[in-house]
Amino acid sequence: MSAPAIVTRGLRKVYGNVRALDGLDVEVPAGSIFGLVGPNGAGKTTTFSVVMGFVRPDSGEVELLGRPISDRAALRGRVLGLPQDAQLDGRVSVLRSLTFLARLTGMDRDAAAAEARSVLERMGLLDRAEARPGELSHGMAKKVGVAQALIGDAEVLLLDEPTAGLDPRAAAELRELIRDLRGNRAVVISSHNLAEIQEICDHVAIIDRGRSVDAGSIDEMTRADAEVEIDVKEGAVPASQLAEIAGVSEVTGGEGPGTVKIRFDPGIAPADEVISAALSALLAAGCKVGEVRKGRGLEARYLETT
């Protein structure tokens, strides 16, 4: 099994009187799409800055791809990202800037120019290649920032709020692009948009006041593998029948229309089997079902822990 993409142990960073990181422990599995969420000032951007090598931690350890972060020479170019609020060099065109960045990864002039064009095309920005960064809209500048992170073949991508400020279409396109990266490399995303994190990430860590307060796979965090919510619009809920389904440990909710919560042991019955059995019982009892959800949603978990 390959080493985790990122491991932080007891990471601390203090700015004056502010503890940006206070013993942060996070492990990002190799090849995962990992969400880092937390309130403003929780330490997300500082974590990114430490991992990208822009900020030196006061104490603690960071391992990237199985190597200590101090081994920068071996890691350079293998860990790329989109730092928050960073802009490309405003003196030259976007294409020239990206070509330069590609050249720094060791490509020759032609290969670098081709790579720069390729990532711009991937982001739908080839027609803006000759524009200066200052001439781009906020959303375009953000996409160009993501484009530069795609140059080369980085094994870890760190995207600090990549969809912030993007219009819904651009945000959806970017989410799709990030999903396409799944499996090829580890991608770490910070975002305040919990629905987005839940949609595209397979692992998540919630951090608050510089510490990790909760972490795990999305299924674990949302209890998607152990809890089902069913919105019943009409009819009497056969609670006793639901409780008899194999693996079910608890059924909560009213007898009449409303939300029924079913908890079960995924070791005995997988979620899909429980859902099928529960729907059969409800439909047989004459209930009308509006919606079925696995788990509680990341937002509920987030609100519980922060």
Binding site: T46, S49, F54, R76, D85, L88, D89, V92, L101
Partner: protein, 300 residues
Amino acid sequence: MKLLAQVRRVTAYELRALFGSARAVTVLVLFLLVAVASSGTVASCQEKLAGEQSKLQLQGPSGRSAGQMPSGFVYRFILGQTVAKGDPDFADFLAEIPVFFLLYVWGCLFLYPYLLALLGYDQISGEVASGSAKFPLLRVSRPALALGKVSAQILLFMLITLLNAGATLAMAAGKLPEFQLDESVLLLLRFWPPILASGLCYIGLVAFWSMVIGSPGGSLGMSIVTPLILWGVSKIAFLWDLGGGYRVFGALGYLSPEALGWGLFRPFDGQLLLSMGVFIGFGALFFLLGLRLFQRKDLA
């Protein structure tokens, strides 16, 4: 990729970016204008003096002796007491050099630090402030980025000094009655290495402030003020020495490379090499110290 290859790529990119930037072009044009205007003024003065002298020559032997001797004596005396530090051979050597070119060299040594400040104050601080430094720094080390940028400054500076010398030559050719191209070119080439050595010192200083201070405005301010301080320290120490004060105050002058600035005018000898070495050494020291601090700096 090896460090040198990274440095080369950063330098090439930086040169292109600088050539394309309005500021670099403005600074270059500004300096050429200053060079042309000042050398033109000096040449005009010389032209008038030569005219006055020929009038005096026409008045007879008494006029000639009255017109030349005192001014030559005073000129040698001033050179001997200021630049030549009381060394009569050195004063003689300087007196042989046309005043036009001597002033050109002095002007370069005095003004280039400020040009270099305008040219490179934000080479690092500007990119740190905008965050654009983070993109290359994900791919190359901080020393590679800083060395690449400072190398671009050095190459651009070399180009500017050559253009400036060319403009000065053209002005001298047009204005000076006894202008001789081969001698003038040799004279400018002879002073080119000392001018470069001085420039390297201030390139290092500007890079230092740009790496240490996070805001471009702050690094510009310090890059302009520090050469004035270095110049002032050496001059105060020199005056203190002249006045026979405590030697320790005179020694303070050696905190500034300008304490050996006079050595840059020397004929090709050990003292010239020492002075050039001190300027280059100060520049390297500034750069390495700045790099050390830059490597430890958080780019939040």
